[in-house]
């Protein structure tokens, strides 16, 4: 017998244990082939069999070598619980089981000497979401009839761009009593109130990115819904930059400035302006951390788009400036405004934080009117890759912070001047229309969403620690990987179709929510329409408490 080595890693140290039923297994090998994490392998076990052949009991034993499927005992290749093996097994012979007694957080650190990295979303089980404690409780009836979601028309667009106070509009009245515009105004685009959030072409597989872009084009061109998609940091394929579809893209620049070289070079060839520019300062899922694309995902086309070698690509946590981050952001705003000759709105994305209101106030009061949107990202958002400790322990929920910003603007009579866009766990229960609607009542002009889009595409990850391996480049469903074999698991057309259908469904649901409160345009700031049965929530958000 071998000496017992308690330090060796075994499946019961892992977050997931493989349940395998050898009696059902036909050894087809599908599961092993499908597991992108190589968390299972074929092994041969020595089996003892006792038998008796004579008329009287005469036990004998025989040893045979039996092929089986086994969980790999290696911390590099631990099972993520993604369930792909179970999906592909024709005989229900294998499935992952959550291991309550996992020692994974400890042994990974002990063995690796490095922080744990992960993708996806936070793993902390949350209590009831604040948004689920809100209801739309002001129903129009009698004197103000509710509208008919089917029959009436609704104006469902949200602004992206800096909005001037009315008294500073450069208007004059001509002899025919018409208003005339005397000077240029900051560009403002009216777009669908749900922006597909910034997921880069490096974080996503090219097929996933293409599917999202296809869905966006279809929604615009066939469904008449001006949905915009934000590129994420890391550039855009040149072909797209030079195509007319660029107008549906919000180009992102983050602290790594990846991909901007190409964008700048493509500018003379652009036939359309992009929908906007989004300067990313922070991200709700991992505030204070810069972007992270692990070398495994830096495929050839990513190297080309970003102009980098195959290596871990880290964006610094800050935009570097000579004097201060404020200064560098200001410079960026000015240069991007200038680069597109002040035709393209430039907005900023920050992580929700205890200090968000002061950041927002600074921007709202800036006299140059350069900030065309405040994208506020809360703790519950997703990410391609991050340190687990940031994911699980840093961040700020979006709901009260968005409300604070809106109320800060209202207190100064500046609501609406910098459109507020919110994200961070919206649509987590699958119902984005309701979450977005409530956020608008609290003051958001629109929302943005990323993780939910992945779920539409078939992402199997969840908040309970399932999968969340987006950082590894081994996404089992081909969404966040650049491995050709895995990417081909994704059916581009089906993904695009799912996204389009989801948006159509959501659009109907928006109307179903607007009709009963009697509104034909978005209910931005209509906190009077919300109620809560939770006194603390009602007080904090300044809405009606009901019981």
């Amino acid at each position: 017998m071998e000496t017992m080595r308690v330090q060796s890693v075994t499946p019961n140290d892992m977050p997931w244990k493989i349940k395998y039923d050898a009696s059902r297994c036909t050894l087809c090998g599908s599961c092993v082939a499908a597991c992108s994490f190589r968390a299972i392998e074929c092994k041969v076990e020595r089996r003892r069999m006792v038998f008796s052949e004579g008329e009287l009991p005469d036990p004998q034993q025989r040893f045979s070598a039996v092929p089986v499927i086994r969980q790999v005992k290696d911390i590099q290749h631990y099972c993520r619980g993604c369930g792909i093996c179970e999906k592909v097994c024709p005989n229900d012979a294998i499935s992952p089981e959550r291991n309550q007694d996992t020692r994974h957080p400890i042994i990974t650190r002990c063995l690796g000497g490095d922080s744990i990295k992960r993708g996806g979303r936070k793993n902390l089980e949350s209590s009831v979401r604040t948004l689920d404690k809100l209801r739309i409780g002001r129903i129009s009836q009698m004197t103000d009839p509710s509208l008919d979601a089917q029959r009436h028309s609704f104006d469902m667009l949200a602004p992206f761009g800096r909005i001037l106070p009315a008294e500073t509009l450069p208007f004059s009245v001509d002899n025919n009593d018409n208003l005339q515009v005397e000077d240029s105004m900051p560009p403002v685009r009216w777009i669908y109130p749900v922006v597909i959030g910034d997921m880069s072409i490096g974080a996503l597989s090219w097929r996933m990115w293409e599917a999202v872009a296809m869905a966006v084009a279809y929604l615009n061109e066939e469904c008449g819904m001006p949905v915009r998609m934000c590129s994420g940091e890391g550039g855009v394929p040149v072909r797209l930059l030079k195509s007319k579809y660029l107008k549906y893209m919000i180009l992102q620049i983050a602290s790594g400035h990846f991909g901007w070289n190409r964008i700048a070079k493509a500018m003379p060839y652009m036939v359309e302006d992009p929908a906007g520019i989004l300067i990313k300062i922070g991200q709700g899922a991992k505030p204070g951390d810069g972007g992270l694309l692990q070398a495994g995902k830096v495929a050839e086309h990513i190297q080309a788009i970003r102009g980098v070698p195959k290596a871990d690509l880290l964006s610094p946590p800050n935009h570097q400036g000579l004097y201060s981050i404020e200064e560098s952001v200001q410079k960026m705003f000015l240069s991007f405004n200038a680069a597109f000759k002040f035709r393209v709105p430039v907005a900023i994305k920050v992580a929700a934080s205890a200090t968000s209101v002061s950041v927002f106030n600074n921007l709202v009061r800036d006299p140059y009117n350069i900030v065309g949107g405040f994208f506020l990202d809360g703790i519950d958002g997703g990410t391609g890759a991050a340190h687990e400790v940031s994911l699980d322990h840093t961040g700020h929920p979006i709901v009260s912070k968005l409300r604070d910003c809106y109320q800060a603007a209202t207190a100064q009579g500046r609501q609406g001047q910098i459109p507020l866009w919110a994200a961070g766990g919206l649509g987590k229960t699958g119902d984005l229309a309701a979450d977005a609607f409530k956020m608008m009542c609290l003051g958001a002009n629109g929302v943005f969403t990323g993780k939910l889009i992945l779920q539409m595409a078939g992402c199997v990850g969840n908040d309970m620690g399932r999968c969340n391996a987006c950082n590894t480049g081994l996404c089992p469903v081909g969404i966040t990987t650049q491995e050709s074999a895995l990417v081909h698991r994704l059916d581009v057309d089906r993904v695009a179709q799912n996204i389009v259908n989801y948006f159509l469904a959501m659009d109907t649901e928006f109307k179903k929510l607007m009709a009963p409160i009697g509104n034909s345009s978005l209910p931005v700031g209509r906190s009077d329409a919300l109620i809560s049965t939770d006194r603390a929530v009602a007080d904090r958000l300044d809405i009606q408490y009901v019981c």
Binding site: A166, G518, S520
Partner: protein, 368 residues
């Protein structure tokens, strides 16, 4: 539901006409009050058109307080009219002890001042009086403006009419423009300030309906102007937006419609003036109204107008003769006071227009 009505005539009209206009519409309101604003005054006020008249209802202490404040500010009373009342027993009216209509001359140092300065002073005085009289409800200050008087009371409009002897026409108390409404606020507390028509610096507005963007409007208006206060009724927002667009921004009246019920984005896109329309829609998004509404308004130059919500969820009709135009929620009211008019010329405004009546009683229909 409210019922609203307005009369504009080339002759001086007595308020009995307004009472009559509203009487047959009483099924549509709850007889909880009567309020009216009169512009372009005749009778005893005719010779004082250029001087501001204070309209208020108050207690004895309130009256003294107000007069002290006016005196201290240097205003000199040149005329006072206290309506004769007929307090019969059994009348449904929550009368205040005093109804005061006093015309003042400006303080000496203001007499040759700029018109604008005077207008700001009048507003400041009204706000000051209102604040001073608010404590213990010593009084309600409705308007302080040249050529305008306001009366608001709680009770049955017929009894209020009887109490103030308004059923009997005379030529002492008349005006060329009268706007009236017969219901106290039912959505909010019954307070005199909550009754439309609302008045500010020459502008009057009254509405039939409900403004579901009330909170948005209030939050935005509070910061726009020192005079945008009270908000006892969601319809006050219509007045403040009118005042803001027409007086503060100095935009033509047509643009009021573009602010309160902006065109859908698709329609704006097809317009030549899309740049302007989009800019004003986005800059004044918080002044948009929603919900069912009909608005009647009067401008400082006595132009009278009406417009509706974007889905036309509330009725309004305009009837006219050579010398009078009447706007009313229901046609029955117009039939009562203009029985001989050619009803084929009645106008039922649609949801995308402003109908305005100028001082020559010419009716203009501006398509939004």
């Amino acid at each position: 539901m409210c019922r609203i009505g307005a009369i504009k005539s080339s002759n001086y009209v007595h308020p009995s006409q307004a009472l009559k206009l509203m009487e047959s519409q009483q099924k549509g309101h709850d007889n909880s009050g009567f309020a009216m604003v009169m512009h372009d005054l005749g009778g005893i006020f005719e010779n004082y058109k250029h001087l501001p008249t204070l309209s208020m209802a108050c207690t004895d202490e309130g009256l003294k307080l107000a007069e002290d404040i006016m005196h201290e500010a240097g205003f000199q009373r040149v005329m006072q009219w206290v309506p004769e009342t007929d307090p019969q027993p059994g009348l449904d009216i929550h009368a205040m002890p005093n109804y005061v209509f006093e015309t003042f001359d400006y303080p000496r140092y203001f007499r040759n001042g700029e018109q604008q300065e005077k207008e700001e002073l009048l507003l400041d005085m009204r706000l000051k009086l209102r604040k001073a009289l608010e404590e213990n409800e010593q009084g309600f200050v409705y308007s302080f403006w040249p050529d305008v008087v306001t009366l608001k009371e709680i009770g049955d409009p017929r009894d209020i009419g009887t109490y103030f002897k308004l059923w009997t026409p005379d030529d002492k108390f008349t005006a060329k423009v009268i706007t009236a409404q017969c219901r106290q606020n039912t959505n909010y507390d019954i307070v005199r300030y909550a009754a439309h028509p609302f008045f500010m610096q020459g502008y009057t507005a009254l509405a039939n309906g409900e403004n579901t963007f009330y909170l948005k409007n209030v939050e935005a208006q509070r910061k726009l102007h020192r005079g945008y206060i009270g908000f006892e009724s969601d319809s006050q927002c219509f007045l403040y937006t009118l005042h803001y667009v027409h007086r503060e921004l100095r935009w033509p009246l047509r643009y009021y419609k573009h602010v309160v019920t902006p065109l859908p984005f698709d329609d704006i896109e097809r317009r030549e003036d899309k740049e302007q329309l989009l800019a004003l829609r986005q800059s004044l998004a918080h002044l948009e109204i929603n919900g069912p509404n009909t608005i009647i308004g009067v401008l400082p130059d006595f132009t009278m107008f009406t417009c509706c919500d974007a889905k036309k969820l509330r009725p309004v009709v305009i009837g006219r003769t050579d010398d009078t135009v009447v706007i009313s929620s229901e046609v029955c009211g117009i039939n009562d006071i203009l029985p001989d008019r050619d009803w084929e010329t009645d106008i039922y405004p649609h949801e995308r227009e402003i109908v305005a009546i100028d001082n020559n009683l010419e009716v203009q229909r501006w398509r939004q």
